[in-house]
Amino acid sequence: MQISSGGATHVGMVRTNNEDCFRIVSPLNLFVLADGMGGEAHGEVASALAVETVVKHCIEGGENPSAPLLGEAKPGLTPKSRRLLSAIHLANQKVFQSAEEHPEQQGMGATLTAAWIDGPQLSVGHVGDSRVYLLRTGQLQQLTSDHSLVAEQVRRGLLTATEAEQSNLQSVLLRALGTQAQVEVDVEEVGLFPGDVLLLCSDGLTRMVTEPEIAGTLQAEPIPQSAAEKLVQLANESGGIDNVTVIVVSFRPEPKGWFSWLRRGAQKSEGGNGSAGGK
């Protein structure tokens, strides 16, 4: 499968600093996004540290597959999922330690959402309320559960999904990176099909833009970078109350024949290659 990706981040229309951070590591097909919290610019520290740690640990794991793994080994997971799980546990430790060592950073933390693609197999690692969506046959399907109070209330049947969207307590998280010495990390594995589009986003997008609008934009903009920029723009047009960060990854079937082989050369320069920092 051919993978192309793009990402965008924006401070939004209300806030003065951007506490979101993302990285696209094209050679690894690794996509990481974090939304920091904790006042006085410490949210930025937390999200950047979390993203850097995850990326570094995954790269090291790629070079040396026998590098030690952190956290509980869940049975049945692919090596990539185990590495990702370990990376997120390590990121939690690093952010937590940094906050312990620097009293001014007390209370800082971050959400973290990462997607790692290995052939047709997608591994998702997740803590917090940033989200991963899969657009397939026109349907936008969330691959992560929000670790927020309102989402937990919906799961327990105390609130309806609509009531949760209108709640004042949407920003209250039950799990985040770096706030406790240990954290529970969700891992999901999903098989990918040609034509699938993957979306990673911070809550700055999902609070401002509805799922049908997101699905429509992803379908209308086949180039991942334009789709990501368009989604950020939509969030800002709807008020942009929070930082907004979006990564879009699309999977196209491997073209066959010599003509498409020529075209593939041209497409290589078009996609979102290299890594992008989140400022």
């Binding site: 919290m37 397939r136 046959t137 594995e189 098989g191 099909f193």
Partner: protein, 241 residues
């Protein structure tokens, strides 16, 4: 106090008040409102107060619960509404007050929290408990372990039963599918089931699934006992406890 009147045609069968305990409606004799009709499930629906509002909740019944002709899974009731189960209907008299002393004004007066925050374990427990105080039954529901399962009734698949453990379950011939279809001319990705916070939703893939005899117009929530037909297989969605 609010009350429910079970009616058959225009005859009153039974009347019950709605107190702090949910009113259970169904065919089995241990219900508060027993509806003796084969179209009604043993545990069909419940009516209770939540945050000062009267709510009806379908218990995953086979033939559904209707409020004024509209099929519902969960709906807020108003005075004069009619709940239909099979050929019976239940008249809603919601003129009484809610028995729970829950102050429904709390939600509107709570300050908007803009800054993202994390609840530490103690605060979190307290807050969830406070939320659960809205209705003890919901806490019971959370305590039970519910295992959503797809049982293959007919057709060729790689297993006879699948427990839905992932956020996304794919049905198709592809090697990437969870529920693998066997045989010629089967679609690679026939349909998909997405776990959301409020339940499991089936959506189309290369085929449009038929749920309980009706082709789905879009992603549709699966209820306990639903029958799904697609690409020559018949599947039963069951929630085991």
């Amino acid at each position: 106090m609010a009350k429910l009147s079970l009616m058959f045609e225009e005859k009153l069968v039974k009347e019950v008040p709605v107190g702090s305990r949910p009113v259970r409606i169904g065919r089995s004799p241990d219900n508060d409102l027993v509806v003796d009709n084969l179209a009604v499930s043993n545990d069909h629906a419940r009516v209770y107060f939540e945050a000062g509002r009267l709510v009806v909740e379908d218990r995953g019944s086979l033939n559904g619960t209707f409020v004024n002709d509209l099929r519902v899974e969960r709906a807020t009731l108003h005075d004069g509404d009619s709940i239909w189960v099979g050929k019976h209907h239940i008249k809603v008299d919601a003129t009484g007050d809610a028995p729970l002393p829950y102050e429904s004004g709390r939600k509107t007066t709570a300050p908007m929290i803009n800054e993202t925050m994390v609840l530490d374990t103690k605060v979190r427990r307290d807050m969830l408990q406070q939320a659960a105080a809205m209705g003890e039954r919901t806490q019971f529901a959370a305590g039970r372990i519910r295992v959503p399962t797809i049982v293959v009734l007919s057709g060729r698949t790689d297993a006879k039963e699948y427990v839905l453990t992932n956020k996304l379950t794919t049905i198709g011939k592809s090697a990437m599918a969870t529920i693998k279809l066997r045989g010629w001319f089967k679609p690679q990705m026939a349909a998909q089931i997405n776990q959301r916070d409020d339940g499991y939703y089936i959506g189309s893939g290369d085929k449009i699934p038929i749920v309980n005899g009706v082709a789905i117009p879009g992603p549709t929530r699966l209820n306990d006992g639903d029958l799904v037909e697609l690409s020559g297989v018949r599947l039963n969605f069951i929630v085991r406890e």
